[in-house]
Each structure stands twice: as structure tokens, then as C-alpha cells.
């Protein structure tokens, strides 16, 4: 019977271990994939440990940081451990705006904080900073999608399935929409605005049009069988929006029309079109989680070219971040940490090499966050909490910066 007891103890221990460890990553903090923004020679980025950071692009030194992390309940296997700054910072005037996983929108005064980096990590009224919880139960209203600013209003997609509008100057809530996705009760995609109308894609396969002023539903909406994985992107010339779906297709939907414009490809791709596409001069550039970047004619749906990104073993690696255009070049990055410079006309691409890490990949890190390009440089936040600046002309990593700060 001694053996029986030992086996019984092993079973219990294994189960306890299993519960403690859960699935990979679930016991980790919600790091998010806040991207980068460059404004007035300053790089703004959300770190994986919940900070908004401002870094001087010339001196490569940190100007200030603001810790937004706070515990949001639940144990290792619960939904959320730590709520980080999950949206890409948006700069408008003297302020940087960010949404947090704990359901708050923050406005921080960039000038005041640059001049006094030791300002307390709480909004300062004297500098017109503010913090607004979203909805009645902000802790459960995680803000996952990037904020949208239009004139004096900030639009926020919330995990309670609603869109909120806030006054940019004081953060007061102006309006809120009804619940747009009853089935999932969450909105993880950003709205897009055109001509006083807000367009929102949902996990239950709807595209809704809302009045930007009242956030009331307008007459037109579009329904698809599968849910939408990405935020829509609008081509203003043709009033067409492009967005990816969980059914492994990219869709083109004409605003106001009930008929689908087109879907790409004919047969489902290898995985979801997770990242929002980029539209330029009648061409849609869409990255897929199967590792391929497609160039598609926005009018005809014709595939112009495709470019397969690889990892260090030569296998396809997911494209999670949207590509960006800079100086008539298309920059794409894959999860394996490779950055590519691609000719948008021909689709011929070149991987940026890095001899310092034995050329395993462009950066020795995973790339999931959206990145930005400015004056020949691309600013990328890696999943190991590091900022990388890639010089496109010189085809090399110019410098990098740790976003981890010891308390």
C-alpha cells in the first residue's frame, strides 16, 4: 500500500503542478504589444512591464517614464495578472494618450514630464493631465485596441463591447455606444473614422457605422459569417474598407453596400490576416499569420506578388505587425525577429542582417507590436522589452534600448 500512497501523491502533485503552471504564458503578466510612435525627436513606447516611456531619439536616453501597471485580480491561471499599457501611444499636441488593460485612458503632458522627469506617476492636474476609467466596471473593460483621435474627441473600443468617446482636453466621457457585439461582449479592434462616421469591426462578423458625434448606430452595417480579426482600413478614394477575418481571408467592403466587394485569396490562406493591411496607390499590402505578405490590387483583387518571410530555420514566421511604408519602400517584420525591406512594386525583398547576433535574425527578439518609421529609421519594440532602431538606408540595427527599469 506504500506504493499506492506514493502514486497517489504523484498524481496530486502533478495535478497541482499543472494547475500552477497552466498553459504556457497564462501565468505571465499581460504584456500587450504596445507599439512605437515618434514625435518631435522623441520615441514614445509602451513597455511590456506597463510603462509609457519617452526616449530621446538623438541622445538615445530616456526622458521620462510613467508606470501604469496595476494588479487586476485573478491567480496564475485567471484572466489577467497585471494590466499593462497595451495600446500604442498617440501623441497630439503636448499630450500622449494611452489605453490600459485595466480599462483606463491616460493623458500625460509630454512637455511637463520632459522638463521634470521626477513628476509623480499619477496624473497631474496642474499640467492638465487626466485619467478616465472606461465604463462602470473599468477593471473588466480592458482597452486592447489603439485609441483614435479626431479633432477634440478620443474614441475608445472597450472590452465591454462598446465604443466610448472622451473629451481630449479633460477626459470626460461624452457618449457611449450600445453593446456592438452581444455574443462576445468585447471590442478588441480599433474604430476608423471617415466623414463624421465611425466604422467598427467585431468578432461576430459585423461592420457597424456609428455617428461620430452621438455614437448611435447608423443605418448601414455589413455582416459576414466569420468574425473580423483586424481593425478596418479605409481607402478614401474608393470608400472601400479592407480588413482580415478569422476565416483566413482578407475582405474588401464598399461602404454603404450590402454586397461584398471581394475576398482574398480564393482558397483560405495559411492563417488569419491579423494585422491591419496598408493601402497605398490602389494596392493593399496585407501580412498574414502564415508568414506571407501579399500585395493585392484594391480594385480587381488580383494578387500582384507575395513575399514569404522566414525564421532562422528557414520556416515561415507569422507576420503579426502591420507593414509600414517609408521612402517608397515597404518594411515588414515577422515574429521571428526578421525585418525586411521590400520593393512595393515588384515584391522583391531583402532581409536586414545582423552580424552582431551571428545573423540569426535582424533582431534577437520576437516582433508582435506595431512599429513606426520616421526619417529613414524604423522603431520596433521587441517582446523581450527592448526597443530597436533599424536604419533602412544602412540596412542595419542602429541602436537598441532596454525598456526594463529596475525599481
Amino acid at each position: 500500500m506504500k506504493n499506492a500512497k506514493i502514486i497517489y501523491l504523484i498524481v496530486i502533485s502533478l495535478f497541482t503542478l499543472l494547475l500552477a503552471s497552466c498553459i504556457p504564458g497564462s501565468a505571465q503578466p499581460i504584456g500587450g504589444w504596445a507599439g512605437t510612435t515618434v514625435h518631435d525627436n522623441t520615441i514614445y513606447v509602451g513597455s511590456r512591464d506597463g510603462r509609457v516611456m519617452a526616449i530621446n531619439a538623438s541622445s538615445e536616453e530616456m526622458q521620462w517614464s510613467y508606470h501604469v501597471t496595476e494588479p487586476s485580480g485573478g491567480m496564475g491561471c485567471g484572466p489577467a495578472v497585471v494590466s499593462a499599457a497595451i495600446t500604442t501611444p498617440i501623441v497630439d499636441g503636448d499630450f500622449v494618450y494611452i489605453g490600459t488593460y485595466s480599462g483606463k485612458v491616460l493623458a500625460l503632458n509630454t512637455t511637463a514630464r520632459s522638463q521634470n522627469p521626477y513628476l509623480p506617476e499619477e496624473p497631474q492636474d496642474r499640467y492638465h493631465e487626466w485619467e478616465t476609467p472606461i465604463g462602470t466596471d473599468a477593471r473588466n473593460n480592458a482597452i486592447v485596441a489603439d485609441l483614435v483621435i479626431n479633432d477634440d474627441v478620443i474614441y475608445v473600443s472597450s472590452s465591454d463591447g462598446r465604443v466610448y468617446s472622451l473629451r481630449k482636453d479633460f477626459g470626460d466621457q461624452v457618449k457611449k455606444s450600445g453593446i456592438l457585439d452581444e455574443k462576445h461582449s468585447k471590442l478588441w479592434t480599433s474604430p476608423v473614422i471617415e466623414d463624421d462616421t465611425l466604422y467598427v469591426s467585431t468578432f461576430d462578423g459585423h461592420i457597424y457605422a456609428l455617428s461620430a458625434e452621438t455614437l448611435e448606430l447608423l443605418e448601414w452595417s455589413f455582416k459576414l459569417e466569420a468574425g473580423f480579426a483586424s481593425s478596418p482600413v479605409i481607402c478614401e478614394d474608393t470608400d472601400t474598407m479592407f480588413l482580415g477575418s478569422f476565416d483566413r481571408h482578407l475582405y474588401a467592403v464598399k461602404i454603404g453596400s450590402d454586397v461584398l466587394e471581394w475576398r482574398f485569396p480564393e482558397e483560405p490562406a495559411g492563417n488569419w490576416f491579423w494585422a491591419s493591411p496598408v493601402v497605398n496607390e490602389g494596392i493593399v499590402y496585407a501580412g498574414c499569420l502564415d508568414g506571407t505578405l501579399y500585395a493585392i490590387d484594391a480594385q480587381t483583387r488580383e494578387k500582384l506578388w507575395e513575399f514569404e518571410s522566414k525564421d532562422q530555420r528557414g520556416k515561415p514566421s507569422s507576420i503579426v505587425s502591420p507593414p509600414v511604408l517609408i521612402d517608397n519602400l515597404l518594411i515588414a517584420a515577422n515574429e521571428a525577429g526578421n525585418v525586411y525591406v521590400i520593393d512595393p512594386e515588384t515584391g522583391e525583398g531583402e532581409r536586414i542582417k545582423n552580424r552582431e547576433n551571428g545573423d540569426k535574425s535582424t533582431i534577437n527578439d520576437q516582433i508582435r507590436a506595431s512599429f513606426c518609421a520616421h526619417e529613414g529609421l524604423v522603431y520596433i519594440r521587441g517582446e523581450h522589452n527592448r526597443l530597436y532602431v533599424v536604419d533602412i538606408d544602412k540596412r542595419k540595427v542602429s541602436w537598441d534600448f532596454s525598456l526594463s527599469i529596475e525599481e
Partner: protein, 253 residues
Amino acid sequence: MSFVEIWHLIIGNPILNVLIVLSHVLFGRFGLAIIALTIIVRLVSWPLNRRQLKSTKAMQDMQPKLQELQKKYGKNKQKLQQEMMKLYKEAGVNPLGCLWPMLIQFPIWIALYQAIMNALATTPEHLLNLARHLYSWEMVSQAIPLSSQFLGLDLGQTALQAGALGLLLAIIVGGTMWVQQKMTTAPSVDPRQESTQRMTTLMMPLMFGFFTLMFPSGLALYWAVSNIIGIVTQYFVTGGWGYLKFRSPFGQR
């Protein structure tokens, strides 16, 4: 190929995708899908379960003889152990028989547990991670992301966050686990072992009741359904409530 990749290829991904298809077929109700998959897994693992239950039944039938041995050799532990092993051998019963099937089934339970956690995709990072494990079946594409609402519960939230309903779920999980354990745990003839068993029978349901409060309700639903199926099959296979009504002579002292 790493162990993790093989694990997902052979066990993890099939269970996850079947769970998602079931959710689509069962009116988009993920809760129903969890119940259905738990039943399917129980059916598939029935041969192992049956062996386990038979072993339990055999142990149950041997109790009077074991008590006799206890009375006879109570003061001589070594002799008692020898006689007990002899008795097990004569009856063709392996006292570990009810534990090995449990160990063999363990990978299936882990995969089921992972499938529920993966499919719920409660955070954006989990949702992105889910993309790596899905088949290109149309039904899977149309079902994603899953709705986590079921009977007033958000299966992605912890029972603690769900309030009164969550508390009820914790009581059901703990209660059903206690009943199942009482039905299957043969009382020991050794007073010290009996005391340990009693502690375990009480601690496990309490632990799982506590876990229910702290983990997503979808997992708690799976535990509750699994326990209830266990009780029902145990009842019909062994022809009753097993040791639930059994009173140990040592408990009467």
C-alpha cells in the same frame, strides 16, 4: 520536433479543434461544448475507466475479509501486510489497479484542460496564440472567437468574479468531488492510513472548490461535469454508492 510540438500535434490540437467544432455545432454555446467533450472523452476512455471501477468494486467486496485479517493480525503489522497481499493475489486484485488507469488518462485530462484554456482565449495574447493550434476547417473559422457566456456565467472569468453563481459552481465542484472520492476510496484497515485517507478525501474537494474560485469558470464546469459523470458511472458499474455509506470500524472507536 520538440516534445511540446509532438504533444500539440497528437493530443492537444485535435482535442482543441474538436472542442471548437462542438461549440459551433451546439449553437455557439461553449459551455455545452465543454459538457459534450467531457462526455466524449469519458466514453473514449471507458475501457480504462471500467477497469478502474472493477478494481474498486473488487476491493469493496474484499472489505469484510480485510477486516477479519485486521482483527486477527492487528498487532503484527508485517504479518498483516503479508496476509493482505496474499488475499489480493488469491482474489486476482491489484491494489494499484485503480490508480494506473488514472495515470494513463492523465495526459488526456491535461490536453482537455489546455484545450479549454486555449479556446477561451481570455486575453489578446491567448487569442493570437490560438491561431497556431487551429485547423483550417471552415467550422473552426466560423466559430472563432468563441463566446464565453453560458448560463449567466462568463466561462473566461473566475468563479470569484461571477459572484453567487460562481460560489454555487465551487460548491458543486467540491461536493461532487467529495461524493466521488467517498464512493471510490476503500477504507483502510490501518488506523493511521485511515486518518490520512480521511484528510485527503476532505482536502481534495476543498482544494478544487478553492481552485474553482480562482480559475476560469469554463474549467470549473469541466470539473463539475467530469465528477458527475464519474459518480453516475461508478453508481451503475459497482451497483450502488460504494464506500459512501461504508462506516469504518475505526471510525466508531
